[in-house]
Symmetry: C2
């Protein structure tokens, strides 16, 4: 068993990571997983491969994202590019609203 704080940090990331990923994909319009991992590291939001790839696959299955393999003009391993579906854009909008609502409550309690 890991310590209390470490476990809590894993819990609070639930849902939050998904929100951040969707916002980043919207920002870049289209991006592949490995690149996303680097962008996440740059903004101090490190994420494990074993967390990101299953998340991206799940969101694709659920039609929140659409995925396109890119093999041409690419040296090395082929890349899978993700972008938001129309449904994903709508979902992200509602998720952001809920996040902001929750943060407002946090700040109301904190002050």
């Amino acid at each position: 068993m890991v310590d209390y704080l470490t476990n809590w940090k894993a819990q609070i990331r639930r849902g939050y990571l998904e929100l951040c990923i969707l916002m980043l994909i919207q920002k870049y319009e289209r991006i592949y997983g490995f690149d996303l991992l680097e962008k996440l590291k740059e903004i101090d939001l490190e994420m494990k491969e074993g967390t990101l790839y299953p998340l991206l696959n799940r969101m694709t299955t659920d039609k929140v994202l659409k995925a396109v393999w890119e093999t041409e003009n690419v040296k090395g391993h082929p890349r899978k590019f993700y972008s938001l579906t129309k449904e994903g854009i709508k979902l992200l909008h509602e998720m952001k609203n809920e996040y902001i609502r929750m943060n407002d409550i946090f700040e109301k309690i904190a002050k």
Copy 2:
């Protein structure tokens, strides 16, 4: 299976609820579960009994909270009052720091 957004809302509440509960207990110094449920409702952060009570018990077991039964001067069912332990105060401090760090990242992506 519930819809995507409903499930996501349950996920993003993980850890966040624990943080809010600890902040509220600190604010009121000592409070019992049922009262906490009402205070949560007042600030539009409704929580189910089946979520709150196991959470309070877990945090008590983990020495984050201390619990005291109060039977005197109380009509009806006895009440269990909770307050933060020294360890709980320290933990809450670190949890708030992490939450704020995460919210900063959210805002950096959002703008």
